[in-house]
């Protein structure tokens, strides 16, 4: 027998430790805690004019060193969706490995065409990473390539750690992380809230270049207060909407449109740092109605928490079975040899 008694006992003690570790009582339902300097974006669809300025400048800003689209090999190049086509008219249709931010449109249904009162006939929606307070992608990443910054709460990606399992793509309820399938050594691509620009004293490009104040950047606590203030406004009144930054001085006087009385992102998926206001129902804007207020890592915790115990048990049971069968086999062989001689 290859294993002596001493080694076997050592091994058994080890697995026993693992089992007890795995058997710690299951995590209680998390109350999401906003990081102290959490930053985010407030997107107000009633102000958006669909000009795509955010998309264009997102691409430019993230192609700079440190940006989410920057690669050493293609430094200085902007990854257009159609590299062979007309670069002046790049029109991404959805999020991709070359597009971190996309404007989509709700073009009204038959009801709106028939003139029925069904809210505004048109609305835009800006799609990019929501920077969940308890991000599912971070919870499933086996190598901690995706991490949530403890101060700003930005969900960042480290391509040197990533080994390409793409669990994050499956885990994200909003379908945000994208993968460079066409590359030999691909990375996951997602909005990192332009965190490379903070060192330069700048902030998210989509907010900096938004002409109407539809996207504004700021501390999540300020953004939440601003969103609630807007919901309390009376439609038809005038309000000085902040532009670019919630704490900035730039303002634009606009007539208040009627809002759907809901701030998306306040509680959805346990709360996100990207908040939405809109004039039409959020289901119509492409938000999956199956996304609840459940904290997503909690959603899988009841299963994931058992994984170490399961692996430990399998190891012990398997080893024990192997040892027993090995012994039995040896006995049988010895007996067989004895018979033959």
């Amino acid at each position: 027998m290859a294993i002596n008694r001493r080694d076997f006992l050592k091994f058994s003690a080890g697995t026993g430790l693992m089992l007890t570790a795995g058997a710690t009582p299951g995590r209680a339902a998390t109350v999401p805690q906003l990081p102290k300097d959490a930053v985010g974006i407030l997107y107000d669809a009633t102000l958006c004019i669909g000009c795509k300025s955010c998309m264009v400048n997102c691409k430019i800003a993230n192609s700079e060193p440190g940006g989410a689209l920057y690669h050493k090999e293609t430094a200085g190049m902007i990854p257009y969706e159609y590299p062979a086509g007309d670069k002046i008219y790049d029109a991404p249709e959805r999020l991709s490995d070359k597009t971190l931010c996309v404007i989509k449109a709700y073009k009204g249904g038959e009801k709106a065409a028939a003139g029925e009162k069904d809210g505004p006939a048109f609305s835009f929606i800006k799609q990019h990473c929501l920077h969940c307070i308890e991000p599912a992608c971070v919870s499933v990443c086996p190598v901690a390539a995706l991490q949530k910054n403890k101060d700003t709460g930005i969900v960042t990606y480290n391509k040197n750690k990533c080994f390409g399992c793409r669990y994050c793509q499956v885990a994200c309820p909003f379908g945000i992380p994208m993968y460079e399938f066409e590359k030999a050594s691909p990375s996951v691509v997602k909005c990192q809230l332009c965190n490379h620009r903070y060192a330069q004293g700048k902030y998210s490009a989509c907010c900096e270049f938004c002409p109407t104040g539809a996207s504004i950047f700021g501390k999540v606590t300020d953004l939440r207060a601003e969103a609630k203030r807007r919901l309390a406004l009376k439609p038809g009144d005038s309000y000085a909407y902040p532009v670019k930054r919630v704490d900035g001085t730039e303002r634009t006087e606009q007539v208040v449109a009627s809002y759907v009385n809901h701030v998306y992102g306040l509680e959805e998926a346990g709360g996100t740092q990207y908040l939405f206001l809109a004039g039409v129902n959020f289901d119509k804007l492409g938000f999956n109605p199956r996304i609840t207020n459940q904290v997503y890592p909690d959603f899988t915790w009841s299963y994931v928490s058992h994984v170490p115990a399961l692996i430990g048990t399998l190891l012990v049971v398997g080893t024990a079975t192997r040892l027993v069968t090995q012994k039995l086999e040896k006995k049988k062989n010895d007996a067989g040899k004895g018979d033959a001689s």
Partner: protein
């Protein structure tokens, strides 16, 4: 048709070939969106023996509206005032002056009661009984109130006459008032041709519509002819594709500005201004309107926009209609399955046809 035009106008249309004349009539019809069949009717109307009398009054104005009219190509001002209309009185274009001109105006109004077209450019000051704009020792307010009830139609040309314009800009010290407000409640139809200056063809087309059909063109709720003012400049703007693709000039003279990107962020008021500048070139010269030259539209022809909102403030986009290439927020489902079903059905039919053909072949 041919004989009519040539026969009745040997003396009037001297120097104008029939071909040029018909070209002009077609262009007028096109401006108003009329069918080609209206061209002969227009030709007949503008060559009628008695040219319609027009009296042109000026209030607080800069003569820009007249100046732009002087530079039209089809018809040019000579053809207009000598062949098409009979310009009885205009302070800028009168040959006579002083008492002679004033006497002729009174005489013409008397002779053409209920038949003449009254054109007004410039706002009318009403403060202090209108003493801030006097013509021949009389407030222009009084002249307008005397003349307008006798006119067949009143055309307010330019933003000053239509909305008050630059004269009515805050603090409006002279109480400058648009023409339609002064004539409100008097039952006199007023056509507004706003703009600073308006495209002269919008004015000419309105006049010729009146001559041809003996009625004013369809007007919107602000009294503007629908053929010219029913669409936003933004809708047909030559720079609109840049707007839809998110490419903007961020400041004057930057790379985007030099490449002809959208001027919205520089304060272009195209998205809230109803006019046809983007489709009908000024004075037959394409590329000579503000947006084409790289200067944002300042909404000169829109009430409460031009001369009211700051020049470089961002416009409120009136209808932010998503262009076709914006992806749907909720993609349509089932399209793929449908396509697949059609494919399967097609393949089945194809297989059946092939099988039948084979069987037929064997039978032969």
């Amino acid at each position: 048709m041919e004989s009519k035009v040539v026969g009745s106008n040997d003396n009037l249309l001297s120097g104008v070939t029939r071909r040029d004349f018909m070209k002009f009539c077609t262009a007028v019809a096109a401006t108003m969106g009329l069918p080609l069949s209206a061209v002969p009717q227009i030709a007949e109307a503008v060559t009628a023996a008695k040219r319609p009398p027009v009296i042109w009054l000026s209030g607080q104005e800069c003569t820009g509206c007249v100046e732009s009219l002087l530079r039209t190509g089809h018809p040019d001002i000579v053809t207009l005032i000598f062949d098409l209309i009979s310009l009885e009185y205009s302070e800028t274009l009168n040959v006579g002056s002083g008492h002679q001109a004033e006497a002729f105006r009174a005489q013409s109004i008397e002779e053409n009661k209920g038949k003449f077209i009254l054109v007004v450019d410039g706002a009318i000051p009403v403060k202090d009984k209108g003493v801030y704009c006097m013509v021949a020792g009389k407030p222009v307010l009084d002249i307008l109130l005397e003349t307008a009830p006798l006119a067949a139609a009143v055309i307010a040309i330019g933003s000053c006459a239509a909305w008050g314009g630059v004269a009515a800009a805050s603090p409006n010290p002279t109480g400058a008032t648009p023409v339609h407000e002064i004539l409100k409640g008097k039952g006199i139809p007023v056509v507004n041709i706003p703009g600073c200056p308006p495209n002269p063809y919008n004015f000419l087309s309105t006049v010729i519509h009146y001559l041809t059909f003996k009625k004013l063109p369809a007007l919107d709720d602000k009294g503007r002819p629908k053929f010219a003012y029913s669409r936003l400049i933004h809708e047909n703007c030559e720079r609109r594709p840049h707007f839809d693709a998110g490419r903007f000039a961020e400041e004057f003279g930057d790379a985007g500005h030099r490449q002809g990107f959208c001027l919205y962020k520089l304060g272009c008021k195209g998205p809230e201004t109803y006019n046809n500048c983007s489709t009908l070139p000024f004075n037959d010269t394409p590329g000579c309107w503000p947006v084409a030259t790289g200067s944002p539209c300042f909404g000169c022809s829109e009430e409460k926009v031009g001369f009211n909102s700051p020049l470089f403030s961002k416009a409120k986009v009136v209808f932010p209609t998503p262009p076709a290439q914006h992806t749907d927020a909720v993609p349509e489902k089932g399209g793929g399955a449908k396509g697949f079903a059609y494919g399967v059905a097609g393949a089945a039919i194809g297989a059946a046809v092939v099988a039948l053909a084979k069987r037929d072949g064997k039978e032969d």
